[in-house]
């Protein structure tokens, strides 16, 4: 049942992703990509679980490394996207 349920979610999310992204203008391709990349750092949520597996040092080390990598991905990804987007200005806001 779990497998069916999870696959169900997967398929719906993929369709949703296609719908959401297919209309993005070329101007925003880079921020879109790095913004999506930041979202892929969601593995962080899974990394906590791994870091907390009790009674196994190896698992905890792997989990800790996963937390580090995923945090780089999340923090770096969102900040760099924000930095890029802050530069996209409309004609009106540049006042020219």
């Amino acid at each position: 049942m779990d497998i069916v349920f999870l696959t169900f979610i997967l398929v719906l999310a993929v369709f949703l992703g296609f719908e959401l992204i297919s209309k993005v203008p070329a101007t925003l391709h880079t921020p879109l990509m790095s913004g999506a990349n930041a979202i892929s750092g969601i593995t962080l949520a899974g990394a906590f679980l791994a870091a907390g597996i009790s009674g196994n040092d190896m698992a905890n080390w792997l989990g800790g490394a996963a937390v580090t990598f995923a945090t780089i991905n999340v923090v770096g990804g969102y900040l760099v996207t924000d930095r890029m987007l802050s530069m996209f200005k409309s004609k009106r806001s540049t006042g020219k």
């Binding site: 296609f18 101007t27 925003l28 962080l44 990598f69 991905n73 996209f88």
Partner: protein, 455 residues
């Protein structure tokens, strides 16, 4: 109870991701969209921490180190180095998924590990590992630490085929007897990392937009696989959203080069077909003459390429655009989808130089009215304006959609020398009747023209 709350929080954060991605679709709302999506991430992370977090020291340590690295990297990176930065972030996402998949094996359950879970763990390790090393190679090529040309050797396909077979065998053996100390697990780890290297080395610099978007997609799929391995909804939803968006971008990039994904990934852009040799007379122009022509122009279109990024010329380009506008001229910036080294590369650089996004036009918008353009200024672009793609059936880039600058009234090409573009194809544009070559460093040439306007 805590699980229930965590799962409801995941629903909230999934909604925020979806809405945030939707808002990323328009320049006016994009920044808010990114913030919404980051709030979604915060909600998911807090929920996961509350429901699963046992080892707070390890987690806190990892978060502090990771956040510091991410913060510094995001702050310090120059806009021109954005492609390699995105590649590195992709790589760390892939590595995280690999590690999560691997660590899950140590989770002791009474029932052992089911075949399905083992399979998803194997997938997380495979895709995560390939994303990690693939991204590192892409980083090396983009930052010019490695030779950015395609690296092809004889027997490469055979070797890659064997590699894939070996991986399939490891996955199969691992799934039939999943254990944390399985030899096949370590085999899979090594082979996955090797596959990432082998997959990216045969891809040349100009095809990087495809690779970056593909790796982006992989990092999402890896997160998705890790989500299956640990039975976590939000990883699956967020991972597949990213996977889908990466695939769409990859597809857009491939279309813009008129090549199939398979062709980009496996061909290494061999210069097998040689187009007609182009002969003719090149007409150079001096900075002063360029000034006189531009001064009289009423419609100017800049066509930037990777060369603009290399010369860091975006600011002077913007300055010239501003002067021309003050001179009563209509100015636009035509951007080919694969100009530069990642999707939307040129747009980011011009945005950094304060060009309002209304002036950035896409290829399909500029081509129908290119005949009304008095002067098209090509800066560091080559293949994306090469008329051979339209006219010469023997040309390797035949069929690739281009910006038809040769149909503008006058074309200035800013170029260091007469070397051909990345694809090694001659460009008849340089010999065109209405083409004037402005030789030298793009930044200096444009500064020179700006100087003429000032005097």
């Amino acid at each position: 109870m805590i699980d229930l709350i965590a799962n409801f929080s995941y629903i909230v954060s999934a909604a925020l991701f979806i809405y945030g991605l939707k808002m990323l679709g328009s320049p006016a709302t994009a920044r808010k969209g990114n913030i919404l999506s980051s709030i979604g991430m915060l909600v998911a992370v807090v929920a996961a921490l509350v429901s699963d977090g046992a080892a707070f020291e390890i987690i806190a340590g990892g978060i502090i180190i990771g956040a510091a690295i991410g913060l510094l990297a995001a702050r310090l990176v120059a806009m021109t180095s954005m492609p390699e930065m995105v590649a590195l972030f992709n790589g760390s996402g892939g590595a995280a998924s690999l590690l999560v998949g691997w660590a899950t094996l140590y989770q002791s359950t009474d029932a052992g590990i089911s075949g399905f879970t083992a399979f998803t763990i194997a997938l997380a390790i495979l895709i995560g590992g390939l994303t990690f090393t693939g991204s590192l190679i892409a980083y090396g090529k983009l930052s010019e630490k490695l030779n950015s040309a395609a690296f092809v050797f004889s027997g490469q396909r055979l070797l890659n085929g064997l590699l894939l077979l070996a991986i399939a065998a490891c996955v199969y053996r691992f799934c039939t007897d999943p254990a944390a100390d399985s030899v096949y697990l370590y085999g899979l780890l090594g082979l996955a990392l090797l596959l990432g290297i082998m997959a990216v080395i045969p891809i040349g610099g100009a095809d990087m937009p495809v690779v970056i978007s593909l790796l982006n997609s992989y990092s999402g799929i890896a997160a998705c696989a890790a989500g299956f391995a640990i039975n976590n909804n939000i990883l699956i939803v967020a991972g597949s959203l990213v996977g889908a968006s990466g695939i769409i971008l990859t597809n857009i990039m491939c279309k813009a080069m008129n090549r199939s994904l398979a062709n980009v990934l496996f061909s290494g852009f061999g210069a097998v077909k040689v187009g007609k040799a182009v002969e003719g007379e090149v007409k150079p122009v001096s900075v002063e003459d360029a000034y006189y022509i531009l001064e009289a122009a009423s419609n100017v279109c800049f066509v930037p390429g990777y060369g603009m990024a290399v010369a860091q010329a975006q600011h002077v380009v913007k300055e010239l655009g501003h002067i021309l506008e003050a001179n009563g001229c209509e100015v636009s910036y035509a951007i080919h989808p694969v100009a530069g080294r990642m999707p939307g590369h040129m747009n980011v650089l011009l945005a950094e130089a304060d060009v309002p996004y209304e002036q950035l036009v896409e290829m399909d918008d500029i081509n129908p009215r290119i005949e009304n353009v008095d002067v098209a200024i090509v800066i560091g672009a080559n293949d994306v304006v090469n008329p051979s793609a339209r006219e010469d059936e023997d040309s390797p880039i035949y069929g690739m959609p281009i910006i038809n600058v040769d149909q503008a009234r006058t074309v200035f090409v800013l170029k260091r020398s007469m070397a051909s573009g990345f694809s090694g194809v001659d460009n008849p544009l340089f010999f065109g009747e209405n083409t004037r070559m402005l030789f030298g460093d793009a930044k200096e040439s444009i500064s020179g023209v700006i100087g003429e306007f000032g005097s």
